[in-house]
């Protein structure tokens, strides 16, 4: 362990540092610094009259009792519980079907299903808003032709699921591509072995591909959960169509935005952002933990 062995390693370390420096600098400037600043802000209270004072964790305590915030968290939790399994189930089935090699024009389908992901969220929400429209949307049109009342897809009971539909439409393709890529990474020998053992296409899918997809599925789940807790653009766009349902606090992120920009409560908004971050962290951790358990058994 003399000096002779350390110096080349040092040189490597220095080179590595030099290579990562641009990233680190940017990361510190646009991610770490704002985060620390937000943390700092969250510990103060600035009033319209009377200026600024240090309040410590008061905003965090308030956040934990804030019905608007907790209601929003509950709403997105429900969203996660329903939308994420549906979307990933869909993505999984599509990936397995496309991977089976039995679909004609597989490439076309793959691109077609992926295309919605390339549509900006705002555009997607606007477009679906038109489709949902009760007076002129095609859904209402079909209902009218059938002589049944058009469903109110922007109502208090339905809007969350209308948003779920938009996110499913947008992100199924992305998740499918991730799963498809994972499937392509499976060694052909595994399939050969399965075929030799007499497994058909369905059996191979269920008992060979699915277990091997577990890490990719886990990744997709965690991404989707984080994305859902950060829902903002869709409810913000739907606000113009159904303000009486969305209000100021439909999702936690929307609530934080309104607190900061219409209620002048920047400090409280900063605290809620951290609370939301904590919620996302805990939920992601739980998801990972739950999905790992069977794997360790096997």
């Amino acid at each position: 362990m003399g000096d002779t062995t350390r110096s080349p390693r040092d040189r490597h370390a220095r080179a590595g540092l030099a290579f990562t420096l641009p990233f680190m600098a940017l990361f510190a400037a646009v991610f770490v610094a704002p985060l620390l600043y937000a943390l700092y802000l969250s510990l103060f209270r600035e009033r319209l009259v009377g200026g600024r004072e240090f309040v410590g964790l008061e905003h965090y305590v308030e956040g934990l009792q804030d019905e608007a915030f907790l209601g929003g968290v509950g709403r997105v939790a429900l969203f996660v519980a329903v939308q994420v399994p549906v979307m990933l189930g869909l993505a999984l089935v599509l990936a397995l079907v496309l991977d089976s090699g039995r679909v004609r024009f597989a490439r076309l389908f793959r691109v077609g299903i992926f295309v919605p992901y390339a549509v900006p969220t705002v555009i997607a929400a606007l477009m679906w808003g038109f489709l949902y429209g009760r007076d002129f949307g095609p859904i209402a049109d079909v209902a009218n032709r059938l002589g049944v009342p058009a469903p109110n897809l922007l109502g208090a009971d339905t809007l969350l699921w209308s948003i779920a539909n938009v996110t499913t439409w947008t992100f199924t393709g992305f998740n499918m591509i991730v799963l498809l890529t994972a499937l392509r990474g499976i060694a052909p020998e595994v399939y050969e072995a399965a075929a030799l053992d007499g497994a058909g296409a369905v059996r191979t899918a269920l008992h060979v591909k699915l277990p091997l997809l577990r890490p990719a599925l886990l990744l997709c789940t965690v991404f989707s959960v984080i994305g859902a807790f950060q829902l903002f653009a869709e409810p913000r766009i739907f606000f113009t169509m159904a303000p009486q349902v969305i209000g100021k606090d439909f999702t936690p992120n929307l609530y934080v935005f309104n607190l900061a920009f219409s209620d002048h409560r920047l400090n409280y908004a900063a605290a809620l952002s951290f609370l939301l971050g904590a919620v996302v962290f805990v939920v992601s951790f739980v998801v990972m933990h739950l999905s790992r358990r069977p794997a360790t058994r096997g």
Partner: protein, 452 residues
């Protein structure tokens, strides 16, 4: 100069002495915020001979033309016009820039209702020293009092929105409804009868979450729920006169006689085009806006006075309307003020806004201009629509004040009343919750709420 100043303050006190606050106000007016008022005469003309560049944030169409006119008068001054959003996004950007202290315009579009809120954050310049004496004499009293807050002048009035009623004459005639509808009682009967005759259509749509419209109706009914004074903030959202208005609409909601779709959405525009709504309780800027998206019913619309609570009365409220204000941080207070004054009070740009851009004028001279009053609108069966709303403008009560926390009051009201009406619980039931939320917020923000 000094004399005029004292004179103006004296008159202002005469107006307010009703409340017995004259002495207090005089002291506040002289020593209070702004401080600019005691600066004495300012040589505006000299400032305008120096080259300067000012930035203006506004969404008002026609501004570039007005700027061209201004530059013919003052070639040394460069004016940059920036459209940063309309309504709430505009104010959000302004708040953000104020917080950052950078990227601020000199002159800013400021709706009447926002003036006390931006005064509370000490963002607006008192324009008095840079304006000609007696400048506000050129405006109707109610408008004067909207910009003349706390002893200073914080905006040059641009346009306003006295409220009236516009309706489809053909549809109402088919339903045998007599027009004009003179009282709210007649209006309620008409709404019920109309919907019975046309199950797919409503006399009007009244969204639960449109505070601009609600507050204008409260204004008409004589309620004064707010004061602008942060040290003695009045919040009376459960006032009987407010409940009278909300209960009136609740009855029509319950009868299914009026719809409560969110307004200014695509579905709402379509609703007019499709005849789902046969009328609109609208402000003076409404008729021209409506024209843009209901071309298919050209010639069938009419405008009339707002229905009254008592027959023979003549009272209205205001919904919308704006000013140009100058921000306190500007390096060119004289130039910025003169720009606002020039494009909003000189004859050439004022006529351009009124005639070419159909803006409802704020200046008395324009409101009395016979050529403008007699202008007919083919869309409204060649009716002189501006005359109807000019008449409503005379009927706007002068004593309404806006709260200094308008953004919260309005967005919270939109959410609370909007949800309650959507749920079928009506607007009246939501007033207490709105009141409590506003009071809690005001106290949390360090304001002193009256009676607490």
């Amino acid at each position: 100069m000094r004399d005029t100043e004292r004179h103006t303050t004296g008159r202002r006190c005469a107006l307010l002495s009703v409340a017995g606050l004259c002495v207090v106000l005089a002291v506040v007016a002289c020593g209070g915020r702004g401080g600019g008022a005691v600066k004495g005469p300012v040589d505006v003309a000299a400032a305008l001979r120096q080259p300067a560049t000012i930035t203006v944030w506004t969404w008002m169409p026609g501004t570039p033309e007005a700027v061209k006119m201004f530059r013919r008068a003052y070639p040394h001054i460069k004016v940059k016009v920036e459209h940063v959003g309309q309504g709430p996004p505009h104010y959000q950007k302004l708040r953000t820039a104020l917080k950052a202290g950078r990227g601020l315009p000199d002159v800013v579009h400021m709706e009447l209702q926002y003036i006390p809120s931006f005064l509370l954050t000490e963002s607006l310049l008192d324009m008095t020293p840079y304006l000609p004496p007696e400048f506000l004499e050129g405006y109707p009293e109610w408008i004067r009092r909207q910009v003349n807050v706390d002893g200073g002048i914080y905006g040059v009035p641009w346009d306003t929105g006295p409220v009236g009623l516009i309706y489809r004459r053909d549809l109402l005639e088919q339903a045998n409804i007599r027009t004009p509808i003179e009282t709210w009682d007649e209006f309620a009967d008409a709404a019920i009868a109309y919907h019975k005759a046309n199950p797919d259509s409503y006399l009007v749509n009244m969204p639960g979450g449109q505070m601009g419209q609600w507050l204008a109706l409260f204004w008409q009914a004589g309620a004064r729920p707010f004061s602008s004074d942060p040290r003695n903030l009045k919040v009376e959202l459960t006032d009987p006169r407010i409940k009278r208005v909300t209960a009136f609409w609740d009855r029509l909601y319950a009868a299914g006689a009026v719809s409560h779709d969110p307004d200014f959405s695509d579905a709402w525009y379509q609703g007019f085009a499709r005849g789902r709504y046969a009328g609109w309780v609208s402000a003076a800027w409404g008729p021209v806006l409506l024209e843009d998206f209901t071309r298919n019913s050209k010639g069938r619309w009419r405008a009339q006075a707002l229905p009254q609570w008592r027959r023979g009365e003549h009272v209205s409220g205001n919904w919308g309307g704006s000013t140009l204000a100058v921000l306190k941080g500007t390096e060119h207070p004289a130039v910025a003020t003169e720009f606002a004054r020039w494009i909003l009070s000189e004859q050439e740009p004022v006529e351009m806004f009124a005639f070419d851009r159909y803006l409802f004028p704020a200046r008395t001279a324009m409101l009395n201009n016979p050529r403008w009053l007699d202008r007919t609108y083919p869309f409204y069966g060649s009716q002189a629509v501006d005359r109807v709303f000019a008449d409503m403008n005379d009927a706007v009560d002068t004593t309404w004040e806006w709260p200094p926390i308008l953004e919260y009051v309005a967005t919270e009201g939109d959410a609370i009343l909007g949800k309650s009406v959507e749920r079928g619980a009506g607007a009246t039931a939501a007033l207490q919750q709105w009141q409590d939320a506003v009071v809690e917020y005001a106290e949390q923000q360090g304001l002193e709420v009256a009676g607490r």
